[in-house]
């Protein structure tokens, strides 16, 4: 699948800074001074993304939860009639993943990964999703957000058929998509879901950004979940902690995609986080360390860690956490540069 990842948001903030910097002075020393000042700010505000400790492939899945964490798919970008069009190609497939030693699970997924790709666009972009169903059952892609009825993705697309979903990216915030064929619990539970981030035109401040989706696995078709996970694999981030930098602004895009359980919380250890509900505001509002999320609810959570060390994150439904929905941040001490 073709995919072009756009330069970080950061780069475009930098472009803006440079532009404004050049406009600030009329030339000569003034401009240069403003310029270097801005460059320094840029450097000081730059985001340090620490390398993952583990990137090895997992059998049955090309992406790991660590590679998926910051893998934002900006699509293939073209300009049509003066507008930015982002094209995403996805194929519904079936494949197996090893959830733990006892469970090999048959997933229904997009492009061979669970969760599906994290689509990302800026408000007002035109989104075109070319959906090819090669997974046996009828499936569909239903996007949250604002769009006409024909693009609501409720109509089943049969095996072997293609549907092109096309709509405007609006409103800005954290959206999601999932298959809407009944029983939806089974179609989502087997892996047909993902996040769809619509950035506001006024960019959010630079941060180390990550995507976390909580999901459940009903491994024996008893309409209850036996296993849970962040980004597809139970307990993965416990064994492969997410390295982050001390005092760095972290921005989590969190979605609860757990079926069968009405709601779960998201809890972060030894810290408070700021909540931006559904990402619908330019700035977060309230502050807490436990937030309740119903199925399909999603928020932006922002925080930074003052002290180095390892800190857990998990729903505070502790049985659910212990069944796989649990992870660690590894806060690494900032160097004195």
């Amino acid at each position: 699948m073709s995919k072009s990842v756009e330069p970080e948001k950061l780069a475009s903030s930098r472009r803006q800074i440079l532009k404004w910097g050049l406009l600030a002075g009329v030339g000569g020393a003034g401009t240069l001074a403003a310029f270097s000042q801005l460059e320094k700010i840029k450097l000081r505000s730059s985001v340090t993304v620490l390398p993952s400790t583990h990137t090895g492939a997992i059998s049955g899945q090309a992406s790991t939860p660590l590679t998926m964490l910051r893998d934002f798919d900006y699509g293939t970008v073209t300009q049509e009639k003066g507008r930015t069009v982002r094209e995403f190609r996805v194929e519904a497939q079936t494949s197996t993943i090893k959830l733990d030693n006892a469970h090999t699970f048959i997933t229904w997924n997009l492009n061979g990964r669970v969760p599906g790709p994290t689509f990302r666009a800026t408000e007002g972009d035109r989104i075109r999703v070319i959906f090819y169903n090669r997974a046996g059952h009828s499936h569909s892609l239903h996007f949250h957000g604002v769009h006409p009825a024909e693009m609501d993705g409720v109509k089943p697309i049969r095996n072997g058929k293609i549907m092109i979903y096309e709509f405007d990216a609006e409103p800005f915030g954290v959206q999601l998509y999932h298959c809407h064929v009944a029983p939806v619990t089974r179609h989502i539970g087997k892996g047909l879901y993902g996040m769809f981030i619509i950035d506001p035109k006024d960019l959010r401040p630079p941060a180390d950004e990550m995507m976390l989706i909580m999901a459940g696995y009903d491994v024996n078709d008893d309409k209850k979940n036996e296993l849970y996970a962040f980004n597809g694999l139970p307990h993965y981030y416990m064994h492969h902690p997410i390295a982050i930098q001390q005092n760095q602004l972290i921005r989590l895009y969190v979605l609860n995609m757990i079926e069968f359980d009405a709601a779960v919380t998201f809890h972060l250890h030894a810290n408070m986080f700021k909540v931006n509900r559904a990402g619908r505001s330019p700035q977060p509002s309230e502050e807490t360390d436990v937030i309740t999320m119903g199925t399909a609810e999603r928020h932006i959570l922002e925080f930074s860690y003052r002290y180095p060390g390892k800190y857990m994150f998990h729903p505070h439904q502790d049985a659910i956490a212990e069944a796989g929905c649990m992870g660690l941040f590894d806060v690494v001490e900032s160097t004195k540069t």
């Binding site: 800074i17 532009k19 404004w20 910097g21 406009l23 600030a24 403003a34 000042q37 801005l38 700010i41 505000s45 049509e80 009639k81 507008r83 930015t84 069009v85 094209e87 190609r89 079936t94 197996t96 090999t104 699970f105 048959i106 229904w108 408000e123 007002g124 035109r126 075109r128 070319i130 959906f131 090819y132 090669r134 997974a135 046996g136 059952h137 009828s138 604002v146 769009h147 006409p148 409720v154 109509k155 089943p156 049969r158 095996n159 072997g160 058929k161 293609i162 092109i164 096309e166 709509f167 405007d168 609006e170 409103p171 800005f172 064929v181 009944a182 029983p183 035109k201 401040p205 078709d221």
Partner: protein, 338 residues
């Protein structure tokens, strides 16, 4: 947010008016984006070419429609090549995906589209019959499971026609003036979900539902339903889906999802039924293809020895895929003898 503060100070020094003036137009406030104007597909209009002729959707067209392009460009095997390179986001991907050359594309670009078009003629009938055939396959395996007193296992297969297919065929049913039967399918599903305790009632409701599906199929003229060229296309649609479902049933060399095993069993069973109906014609007109197809179908069917899956798969997913490909290839020979 120290950096931001400094930043905003600098910005205010620049002056707000300068900022506004230099802002790119696309960065204007969201309120200026008119949702109603932009919600119509951008790709429409681009492909609405001046030709009055009906266009071919390269993402959805069946082989016999694609053959028009193959004939126009005189490229043998082009229809299959177009199908194999799906999906297309734009028609000119026929060139970028190296299916045809730019010069060839220029000759046919007015004939092709990626937009949804109203199906007509044979393509429409194949589509209609395939959907109903899938329903019929689900019902066949549901009945077997009900007879085995496994209502819990039968339930998903009674659900699938409504959940996965009905909405997709509803328009055509209305157009063809076929009486609505979603209500009876749902009524039957309710009974089975509740444990199918009243077997006589389940029997009656089941008959009503199956008769509805069969009645909808019988809406197509008898001659068409006996025409090998037509029926073989439906069989291919059923087998293709059976192939994907069988693959989705097996993990670690075990049949771990009975539902998908049973789905594929039902589709193959109905494909066998359909083939019986065209056997005399096949024997007469395409004896070689007939021989190859019947032997491959018989071998294929062994993968589903019973409605309840065997402990170990009788055939690997690769073996099933290969047999289904063989059958498709042989049907192509008799659909399109060239």
């Amino acid at each position: 947010m120290f950096n931001l503060r400094v930043f905003s100070l600098l910005v205010s020094a620049v002056g707000l008016s300068t900022l506004m003036a230099c802002g790119e137009t696309q960065d204007s406030p969201s309120a200026s984006v008119s949702p109603s104007a932009s919600s119509t597909a951008m790709s429409s209009g681009m492909n609405h070419s001046a030709t009055g002729k009906k266009q071919i959707n390269i993402n959805g067209a069946i082989l016999s429609e694609l053959d028009k392009l193959e004939a126009k460009l005189a490229v043998p095997g082009l229809s299959n090549k177009i199908q194999a390179s799906r999906p297309y986001g734009k028609t000119d991907e026929l060139v970028s995906k190296k299916v045809i050359t730019q010069a060839q594309f220029d000759q046919v670009k007015d004939m092709v589209t990626i937009e949804d078009i109203q199906l007509t003629g044979e393509a429409k009938d194949v589509d209609y019959m395939t959907k109903l055939g899938l329903m019929k396959g689900h019902m066949l395996v549901a009945k077997e499971l009900l007879d085995l007193k496994k209502p819990d296992q039968a339930e998903p297969h009674i659900g699938h026609p409504v959940e996965e297919i009905y909405a997709d065929v509803e328009g055509q049913l209305n157009e063809r003036k076929v009486k609505e039967f979603k209500t009876s399918l749902i009524a039957l599903q309710d009974l089975v979900k509740a444990g199918a305790k009243d077997t006589a009632k389940v029997d009656t409701e089941f008959k009503i539902s199956v008769q509805s599906v069969e009645g909808a199929i019988a809406n197509l003229p008898d001659t068409q339903r006996k025409d090998p060229k037509f029926v073989l296309q439906v069989i291919n649609g059923l087998l293709d889906t059976a192939n994907s479902e069988y693959g989705a049933a097996i993990a670690d060399g075990k049949i771990s999802q009975a539902i998908e095993y049973q789905d594929s069993r039902g589709f193959v069973a109905y494909a066998n039924d359909l083939y019986k109906g065209i056997t005399p014609a096949m024997q007469k007109d395409s004896p070689d293809a007939h021989k190859a197809i019947t032997s491959a179908m018989a071998d294929l069917t062994k993968a589903w020895p019973a409605p309840i899956p065997p402990a170990a798969p009788v055939k690997t997913t690769d073996a099933v895929s290969k047999l289904i490909k063989d059958i498709e290839m042989n049907t192509q020979k008799s659909i399109n003898p060239s």
